[in-house]
Symmetry: C2
Subunit: 484 residues, 2 copies
């Protein structure tokens, strides 16, 4: 078992600092946990027999079974005492929500040092202090303390998210819940007195529910170790990093936020590149890339075919791809000839392949087969279906993906396909359907182009470290077992 | 009356090529128009007395009143004949939806030339051919031909949108409808045989319903005239341009899409700068900027204060602003001292001002007053309220904006305020409320930073051409009449 796995999959959890007062952190935390958690839950409160139906005891030692994780939300001065008790109880790990440690100055730093000593003495592990902790939809482990009325909790999914900032982490989960983006594991480790990015990366590498790892980082303390582990992990799963404190002013702000010394961004950038991590520059991009990298195979090179129903979007797609250093190459005469035979006379059989707004489903279906079997060495496809045009039927996604699957199977060569669906509710319905069939869809060609660029960069990294084939085979397994 | 205004506000419209067959362009177009149009509507169809309740006549000449606009959706070969008839009828303008002109080759180009000759001979104006035409929520003028089931139609609003691409234009309208973004006037002029960007810009400059003009452009033919007019229009209203065909491959794609010769993007870029237009690089950015520029005063300089409830978002905001060349300056000792007095002891009174997740409404309200009245010459504020944290109440927006209004009134100095609300449904509700009160809110600091950058760039342009004060006064009028 991984060293920190029990934090995410505990059987027995106790909350110290549980409160009977709605609005208090100790109440909301217990309420959220009670609602979701599938294991046994206890609360420590000498003045109550139960809170919210959770049985209460005076001390941890009174709990009549072994406890995996103790969640602590008492004033900072009392945390060490609770940690001692947990140690004597034989608890595996602590999640300390309470603030009032290193982030408040020398006195708090001393307090944090003492806490860590106790944790080490008993061989426990510690998430926090000054953190929001863990959220795992599958096991119901949840230490977030915002009420469900104010914050949404995302469903189970394949994206792991670790955030240095608790507030940002919570806001992102809330946003993900609204967007229907699933999460495998969430963790925010606050002051990182013990558990940090390194532990989490190693755990997530081996976590079967996690297909892609996303990180929000302000600063890395154990740089050498972090990058060594990162380099290892990226062989198996894509890791996408949103690193703030990139600019001088941003680094100053990061230092007064989490005390992180951000360091030169140029150094970070080169180290991320050398470790195979993909950088994102906003929350939306972090998840755009996560969804793309989790659902598509890596690209073997930078030659992209654009297949569009709208000419304007085709131009924008070409710009966006080119501006990222990717190529939208002219197609060979033989490919152009084959396309001409199946498309409308006024369609454009070059690249972008523009089937036009007069197209029917079959034009897209025939065109994708020609592109995937052409001699043009296409490494990735951006398709822009425009579900709204009159000739496109509700069957398009199924027909298109059936054909893709057939060609992948017959040729043995797979390439990533990333979609764009610009439009309103009708379009969004079919974009969601395509996603449920395994093809990620984005609102604009610019966002899809960033995803293709990440697939190309990650593919090049995998070739370099000899793991490209491993990922193609993994994709084929997921792909062939997929509903589509 | 502006030369092309009647296209957007006609009293009488006739449709030539109206069909009784659902799914046909001539049917859907008539159906859409019938549903929304507030004037008198006629259809030309010698075999029907009425279609969808719209009275039919055999020829335009039979219509028993004057006709402002004739919408033509007949095969290309028949368009000239209809144009002749319209000319004899004394019609003001034609919107030719039909394709089969310049975009199809030399024969079509000849046909287009002949059509223009007829239009000129009778002193008419022409939108198209090969276009989707016009959509005006206020008058119900609507020549879009996608069924309402597949495409949403946005409500009346203050953003005008002109798109060279019809499919992209339709998709954007659909998206805007879903997002709740209002449109004053939409036009897509297809081959631009007569009416083009120049006519449209001049009309929109004077259109009282339009506060900001957005353009999707692939190529500009009458460059000199366009830029002369653009330079004039931007004095009065912001113009935001999404120009595609920026890269070599993109320009090639544009040329096969609309036949536009895109030209060097460096030249376009410098001319846009010299004309005061703001460039956007994606659909989302086009409308992010439009909403910001339409609702906020221009900024007099590039010094930005960041006021946040979440430290991490403050760091990201600082990065994003700095990366765009804006400054997030250290605050003066006097400002820091004033902030320290009103904020929590562990809040950060520098810039970003981080009131922390333990903040209550009053911390944000007091902080904004201090920032707006400080000696730090703040030119713009990015605020990141985090509505979800326990101490923030549903009254925050009202209290915050009451205070902003009070300070603006008392000091006589106004600066743009741009908000960020990262989160899910609860947060989105309050973000929408803030927008209805006049403060634009974005999902991420990166998107808000782009808006502030545009307000700074536009402000500098206005100072240069002597129209800065004009805009500040206009803002104050809107602002004081506003619900907030």
């Amino acid at each position: 078992m991984n060293q920190v796995e029990f934090f995410f999959t505990p059987k027995v959890v106790a909350v110290v600092g549980a409160s009977r007062k709605p609005g208090k952190v100790g109440y909301e935390l217990l309420k959220n946990l009670k609602e979701l958690f599938k294991g046994n839950l206890y609360a420590i409160n000498p003045e109550a027999r139960e809170i919210l139906g959770v049985p209460c005891y005076s001390t941890l030692l009174d709990i009549p079974e072994e406890v995996d994780v103790v969640v602590i939300s008492v004033p900072a001065e009392r945390v060490s005492e609770v940690a001692e008790e947990a140690g004597r109880k034989g608890v595996k790990g602590l999640i300390v929500i309470s603030g009032g440690f290193k982030e408040t100055g020398p006195e708090g730093a001393e307090r944090e040092k003492k806490l860590v000593e106790i944790v080490k003495k008993y061989g426990m592990r510690l998430i926090g202090p000054n953190c929001v902790g863990v959220y795992v939809p599958k096991t119901g482990m949840n230490t977030l303390f915002l009420s469900k009325e104010r914050q949404g909790y995302p469903a189970h999914g394949f994206i792991a998210f670790a955030s240095q900032s608790g507030a940002f982490g919570s806001a992102v989960l809330d946003w993900a819940a609204m967007k229907g983006i699933g999460i495998s594991k969430f963790v925010s480790y606050g002051n990182k007195a013990d558990v940090d990015e390194v532990d989490v990366l190693l755990y997530l590498r081996d976590d079967e529910d996690t297909r892609v790892i996303t990180l929000y980082v302000e600063g890395i303390e154990k740089g050498r170790e972090f990058f060594k582990v990162l380099r290892e992990v990226t062989k198996y799963k894509p890791v996408i990093v949103l690193k703030s404190g990139r600019t001088e002013a941003g680094a100053r702000a990061a230092s007064s936020h989490t005390g992180s010394l951000a360091g030169s961004d140029a150094i970070y950038d080169s180290i991320f590149k050398q470790s195979g991590a993909v950088r994102a520059y906003s929350m939306e991009e972090l998840f755009d890339l996560a969804i793309g990298l989790a659902t598509q195979p890596p690209a073997a090179g930078g030659r992209v075919a654009v297949l569009t129903v709208g000419g304007g979007s085709g131009v924008m797609a070409t710009d966006a791809l080119s501006e990222l250093g990717l190529s939208v190459p002219r197609l060979s005469e033989s490919t152009v000839g084959r396309l001409r035979k199946v498309l409308l006379p006024f369609a454009s059989p070059y690249n972008p392949v523009d089937v036009t707004g007069s197209a029917v489903d079959e034009h897209l279906v025939e065109a994708i087969e020609i592109l995937l079997t052409s001699d043009d060495k296409i490494d990735a496809v951006m398709w822009l279906p425009y579900y709204m045009v009159p000739g496109i039927t509700p069957e398009l996604n199924r027909k298109f993906l059936d054909r893709v699957r057939k060609v992948f199977r017959e040729t043995g060569r797979v390439v990533p396909i990333v979609g764009v669906a610009t439009g309103g509710s009708y379009t969004a319905t079919y974009a969601k359907e395509a996603e449920s069939m395994g093809i990620p869809m984005y609102i604009s060609p610019e966002r899809a182009a960033r995803v293709i660029k990440a697939l190309v960069d990650y593919g090049r990294w995998l070739v370099k470290v000899g793991f490209f084939k491993y990922h193609i085979e993994k994709f084929c397994r997921i792909f062939s077992s997929h509903s589509m």
